[in-house]
């Protein structure tokens, strides 16, 4: 069985900032009168990848693929069931509160819905100041100054700082979330569907902003989204998730131009595009995503895969390197 060799994954030129090894997050299903655990939803089921300093790794998948759970488990907002998370070469998988807090300074998250993620009773100033109070020993004056600078950086006015979230549009609220995430100068930011709730013209503004901020602060992004076009725009490398597993990881160009996994191929062919001149062949996928509490044996995609054969039901395919950093978990590429 082909396994991922560590040497393959770690490239030497750039330093690895985040490394995830065989990460698993299972949610118990309770049932019966005694509420005993009768099964598990395998939301994330053995995911391995690394993210280099200054890089943007995009994670795409449909609903139920486990991409959001993955993001939360990396930040330890959810306790991983198994596996390892390394941040700056330090194993943070089992760190406790006190030791975790300084690490949390370096890792932030921007959520999808800025209506739900900002406390409606706090002014913009209070919202952005809060992480500074918890994480730094800045005095009041220093904090106010930093809030003003941050507001300007994300394209809001300093005079907006006394306003409350309801006074802003969705795009502006997402800018506030970004300012809040950047307040304590993190190294690593997870964007979980951060632009999905926004209209396209506003989405473009926020994507450009994230791009500028990455250059300015040398940020490393994990960009989680269901939208393959957006992921293509922002990412250096892309990982495709299906039912809790990574089925393909590659630098942007090869994965969009020459996708190897049948699921990636189908996903790409299903995106409606505005180029009206090209007639594209669509790969139709039958049926829905199977339940993650009872995934198919072997390859999780085999029930919908047009290329499935016997081996797919028997052996779970592992990620294998196909050259130039292109990994795929599919038996079609097994070497005899």
């Amino acid at each position: 069985m082909a396994t991922v060799e560590e040497k393959d994954l770690i490239q030497t030129e750039q330093q690895t900032l985040v490394r995830v090894e065989n990460l698993k997050k299972y949610f118990p299903i309770k049932g019966g009168v005694l509420k005993r655990t009768i099964g598990h939803v395998k939301a994330v089921d053995g995911v391995t990848f690394d993210i280099k300093q200054g890089e943007t790794l995009g994670i795409v998948g449909e609903s139920g693929s486990g991409k959001s759970t993955l993001g939360r488990a990396i930040l330890r907002l959810l306790e991983p069931t198994d596996g390892k998370i390394l941040f700056n070469d330090q194993d943070i998988t089992h760190l406790r509160n006190k030791k975790l807090r300084p690490i949390r300074r370096d890792m932030q998250i921007v959520f999808q819905d800025p209506f739900a993620s900002l406390n409606t009773k706090m002014s913009v100033e209070q919202l952005i100041e809060e992480p500074l109070i918890i994480q730094t020993d800045m005095n009041k004056k220093e904090r106010k100054e930093l809030v003003n600078t941050l507001l300007e950086k994300v394209g809001l006015r300093a005079s907006d700082r006394m306003k409350y979230p309801h006074e802003f549009s969705g795009g502006q609220r997402q800018r506030i979330s970004i300012a809040r995430a950047l307040a304590i100068n993190p190294k690593f930011v997870i964007a979980d569907e951060a632009v999905s709730a926004l209209d396209v013209s506003i989405q473009a503004q926020v994507l450009n902003l994230m791009d500028d901020l990455q250059d300015e602060f040398g940020l490393t992004y994990l960009f989680i989204s269901h939208d393959l076009s957006v992921v293509k725009h922002v990412s250096d490398r892309v990982g495709v998730m299906y039912l809790g597993r990574l089925v393909e990881v590659a630098p942007k160009k090869p994965i969009y131009e020459n996708p190897l996994h049948p699921y990636t191929q189908a996903l790409l062919s299903a995106i409606p595009d505005t180029n009206v001149d090209v007639e594209r062949e669509k790969i139709k996928l039958e049926g829905d995503l199977p339940s993650p509490s009872n995934p198919p044996s072997g390859c999780a995609f085999r029930t919908r895969c047009p290329m499935a054969h016997e081996r797919c039901a028997e052996v779970r395919p592992e990620l294998q390197h196909k050259g130039d950093g292109h990994y795929v978990a599919c038996h079609l590429y097994d070497e005899e």
Partner: protein, 326 residues
């Protein structure tokens, strides 16, 4: 195949009269037609008035909203002059609607079968037995492999895509002449979206319906529409056949939208943007409603709102850049 005009909307105005004497002109002077067998897409961002347009056609506008002017003809009958009772006979019968979120559009305490047969028994006066048989046939038609079992299931037992299929079955149960689909696939994953849009297309051809597709997704428009209407600030700002619109957009708003869209087929370093945000419907700028965000705005644009200008027999745009006199 005939291509008679199914829906003809003229000068439609739907205003909302707010508490503080403000008037939100959510739909202001909208003209649109849909022919049998044709898919017309109404695109716009949130707050553009596209959903209010569709609800006005169905006459589902509640206080403080009111249709203040215009004409909505369905197969030559002006719906705005009908009584509530007469309108009830038309909804679900001659014109049907599919919404974005099938979980809220379906009643969770009735079985799928109940919800399809309700329509059939009301509009087609079928017996219980006839209606049940027809419901099973409809479910088979929209792709339920075990239709005779699904008919007794509840909405929560189905996945999102399957629920939307059930919605389509209800919508087409009385062979409507016009189907209005308001963001029908926005809540669905891309692979399921493709299945549902293909199904709608197939049903449209089979029943020779007119399809009014309301969406914010320009990719969906490019693949499924025949004609496109772009809406901004309660008005149609551009209308054209699909291919023309995507290759040669005229209105600065349409151009801006297309540039701000990332694509998997091109490599863009930086996305184009439209500055600012959509103004709320009670405080549109004087003059052209896009003037506050338009990169080409001229003096004239801040003074008066441009009329629709016909560039071609099928391409029209609401913009002073294309006025003929200067």
């Amino acid at each position: 195949m005939t291509n008679e005009t199914v829906l003809d909307v003229k000068d439609l105005k739907t205003y909302f009269f707010l508490d503080d004497d403000k008037v939100a002109r959510a739909v202001d002077d909208v003209d649109l037609t849909v022919k049998a067998g044709e898919t017309v897409a109404l695109v716009g961002e949130s707050g553009s008035g596209k959903s209010i347009t569709s609800l006005s056609i169905m006459q589902l506008i509640n206080k403080p909203g009111k249709i203040v002017d215009g004409e909505v003809s369905l197969l030559g009958r002006n719906l705005l002059t009908l009584s509530d009772k007469e309108m009830t006979k038309i909804r679900g019968n001659d014109v049907a609607m599919i919404f974005q979120e099938p979980m809220t559009a379906l009643n969770p305490v009735y079985t799928i079968g109940n919800q399809i047969t309700e329509v059939l028994r009301k509009h087609k006066k079928m017996s219980k037995k006839q209606a049940r048989q027809r419901a099973i046939d409809l479910l088979k038609l929209v792709g339920f492999p075990r239709a005779d079992q699904t008919i007794d299931e509840y909405p929560h037992q189905l996945s999102g895509g399957m629920r939307q299929r059930a919605m389509i079955a209800i919508a087409i149960s009385c062979d409507p002449k016009l189907l209005i689909a308001d963001e029908p696939t926005t809540a669905l994953d891309v692979t399921i979206q493709a299945q549902i849009l293909d199904l709608m297309n197939e049903m449209k051809a089979k029943l020779n319906m007119g399809l009014l597709l309301i969406t914010h997704d320009l990719g969906v428009v490019a693949e499924y529409a025949d004609r496109v209407l772009v809406m901004y600030g309660g008005q149609i700002v551009e209308e054209s056949p699909k291919k023309v619109l995507f290759k040669d957009p005229k209105h600065p708003y349409t151009e801006g939208l297309l540039e701000s869209l990332p694509s998997i087929y091109k490599e863009e370093d930086r996305l184009g943007t439209i500055r600012g945000t959509v103004p709320p419907a009670h405080s549109f700028p004087e003059g052209c409603r896009f003037s506050s965000r338009c990169p080409h705005a001229m003096d004239q644009c801040f003074k008066s709102n441009p009329e629709i200008i016909h560039l071609d027999h099928d391409h029209a745009v609401r913009c002073y850049l294309y006025s003929k006199d200067d």
